[in-house]
Amino acid sequence: MFDLIVIGAGPAGLAGARTAAGKGLTVLVLDEQPRPGGQIYRDVERAAPLRGDILGKDYTAGLDLARGLDHAKITHVPAATVWQIEAGTNVFYTQDGVAREARGKRLLLATGALERPMPIPGWTLPGVMGAGAAQILLKQSGIVPERAVLAGAGPLLYLVAAQMVRMGAPPLALVETQTRSDFLRALKHLPGALAGWRYLLKGAGMLSELRRAGIPRYTGATRLRVEGGVQAEALSFRAGGTDRRLEAETVLLHHGVVPHVQAARSIGIPHRWHAGQNCFVPERGAGGRTVVETVYIAGDGAGIGGAKAAALAGRLAALHIAADLGALPETDRDREAAPLQAGLTAELAARPFLDAAYPPFAEALSPDDATIICRCEEVTAGDIRRYAGMGCLGPNQTKAFGRPGMGPCQGRYCGLSVTALLSEAHGAPPDATGYYRIRPPIKPVTLGELAALSKPKGKSE
């Protein structure tokens, strides 16, 4: 049995693991990727020497964190897919086709974020992917799309565009959905945002880089739709009072990131709607402890804050876990936590401004009837509205009316959309509407792998 099992080797998990090990705890780090870094520092140990200058210092900062896994008390299991967590301490995962069980006195969920689903007509065509996905291709594999349009809202669009420019494959255009009034509404958060002036400066820097590279930008765009037969061929939209159509084989969509909640929800951690971030976030107390006593949660999976905030939150959680296990006196914990907490507050300062200045694309939150909402089962927005009209109040009932959320992704890319559509149809707040009930397996596991874990016939449960 380990003192601590960390699920996720992104910044929160890496920082948490290292801090915990530093306090003498035995730590198991389970991560789905073959090499550490999560998504934001994806494959950083391999990619930083190759592309670090293009990807920037924000990326290469992940190197130290990744190297932090090299510690006598840390066992890192890469390419491990966690599919069930039981009793807040038992973790079932598959590595290399073999299912295993690990036990920890405490768990730290550091499962990070997903791109917010952005259902627009044609978004399921091959060639359409998240801007984050394109960035992963760039970071890990050094491949760039040749004829791509970026669409949506948020600073990630600018970062990906800038990285593409530096790699010699400038995007054809940025089609941005945020409006001037979004910016004006965001200004009330500006004083707080100025505490995060580094972020704002960075953003401004990227925008001038894009300007120098001559990348066309459209803002206040509406009526976004991807056109194509078998694959994406163009993005059409309306901006500045004109209808436009940009031919592109690759359309990169992004309108924010949201916590990846599958693991947390699967063990019954309650979530609450966060209006500013337009997503559900897990309920947690000091140090990221959840209502499930042995389980802590840190990083973007607990609420979007970015990589630096995630690392700080991971360290904070580790301090609380160490104190909880008696390896660290509480006074020491509080003393070490104080600067981390202050750092975290500073890191999060710019978020309300950014969230308000780059809100989710309204049309994607309430798409046309014909737009697919559940990619796996091909259920449309119109279907969900129809279920609502038939008395369906919540997402779990929609599973009885259609099949949204029942495919392999288990609602990762439709959950928020279904909740939004039902909330809109019934005039109910998202907390009242609810979200899919998430059950194991949180990732697929073969029946053979699962069967191998069963006790032989005749033994008692």
Binding site: Q397, G407, L450
Partner: protein
């Protein structure tokens, strides 16, 4: 709001009864619960099953047969009205056996029941070679199976959806998100909900699944029901692997393989456990070894509503005449009977089925 029938519970039992009453020209209001309630109708296996029912009570076997025989026509009528297919297949179903002893024992039990049913119990025994001709993917550990020709399966969610739609189309009034907290009767029944909604009705049907544990006694029923958990697995969508259903596994109309189920006495706990998932997976792989490579994508736990002998309960309240308890754990199999035959009993028609064996008199 006044209606002929108020039906407490809008799952497969309540909606089937509502549909049948509407077809007879009655006015019906269905009070349905919350999105997060236990909702057994969303978690069941989808079998339309005759074999193994009523081994100790032939009347139950007969009731199941009557329902199975009426199912195709019922499904066709629902399909015509709603444009939806139920995915009904009635090509027979298996009881799979992994030892000659259990196979022989079950066959002899079935022979006994067949006699009591006057010979109307069409089953045959398939040895392993005959079974393999019918099911090419069956595993070597399966020594044989009993194939019962009256068994079948359907898509229970499509059934629910069609019933929900057609009940509304037929003029039924369905109100969702209602928790009935009180029922009293003067000359009419008055049902009161937690949010203050009131419904008045000439008659009331309590078909609220586990909700009857609380409401039942308040309405004069014994309602000796208890929850029993069944955990079920479902795989990714696959090419055709399994032709006929069994209690071990069936291939649903959408392509996934559904594997079940446990029988656990765990009170109101519908979570899934790793040990049960592993055991169900092991049993499925033993029966169909090709499933070893199939990816499990979902699991669920649902609570059956069980009476002490596992049989349905059909009872009129001794203290509130006109209030009826309708509860069972085979809501899908009995959906046709609840839609076609039970309304006659609720109406007190002369040609109503004799359901005395299902009354609460059997619980002393």
């Amino acid at each position: 709001m006044e209606t002929d029938y108020a039906i407490i519970g809008g799952g497969v039992v309540g909606l089937s009864v509502a549909w049948g009453l509407l077809k007879r020209g009655r006015t019906v209001t269905v009070l349905d619960g919350e999105d997060g309630s236990f909702r057994a109708s969303r978690g069941n296996f989808g079998l339309v099953w005759v074999q193994s029912k009523g081994m100790k009570q032939p009347r139950y076997a007969r009731w199941s047969q009557q329902s199975a025989a009426a199912w195709a026509d019922f499904a066709a009528e629902l399909s015509d009205a709603t444009g939806r297919e139920m995915g009904l297949r009635q090509d027979g179903g298996y009881d799979l056996h992994f030892s000659e002893e259990t196979l022989a024992k079950t066959v002899s039990e079935y022979e006994g029941l067949k006699e009591k049913l006057g010979g109307d119990y069409p089953f045959e025994v398939l040895g392993s070679n005959a079974l393999r001709r019918e099911e090419p993917n069956i595993g070597p550990s399966v020594v044989g199976a009993i194939l019962h020709h009256q068994d079948g399966h359907t898509n229970p969610l499509k059934l629910l959806q069609a019933l929900a739609e057609d009940v509304r189309r037929l003029g039924g009034h369905v109100i969702n998100g209602k928790q009935v907290t009180g029922v009293d009767k003067t000359d009419l029944f008055r049902l009161t909900c937690a949010d203050g909604t009131e419904v008045r009705a000439r008659k009331t049907v309590l078909s609220a699944g586990l909700g009857a544990m609380v409401l039942g006694p308040a309405m004069g029923f014994k309602a000796p029901i208890r929850p029993q958990r069944g955990q079920v697995l479902i795989t990714e969508k696959m090419p055709k692997i399994i032709n006929r259903p069994s209690l071990v596994a069936r291939q649903v109309d959408e392509g996934g393989i559904q594997i079940g189920a446990t029988n656990e006495e765990v009170d109101f706990d519908d979570t899934v456990t790793q040990s049960a998932l592993a055991r169900l997976a092991a049993d499925a792989v033993t029966a169909y070894p090709i499933l070893a490579r199939a990816q499990l994508v979902r699991s669920w736990g649902a609570l059956r509503i069980l009476s002490p002998d596992g049989l349905p309960i059909y009872q009129e309240s001794p203290v509130m005449p006109g209030a009826y308890l309708v509860t069972c754990h085979s809501g899908v199999t009995l959906s046709a009977a609840h839609a076609r035959f039970l309304p006659d009993w609720l109406e007190g028609n002369p040609d109503a089925p004799d359901l005395e064996v299902f009354s609460e008199a059997r619980f002393s």
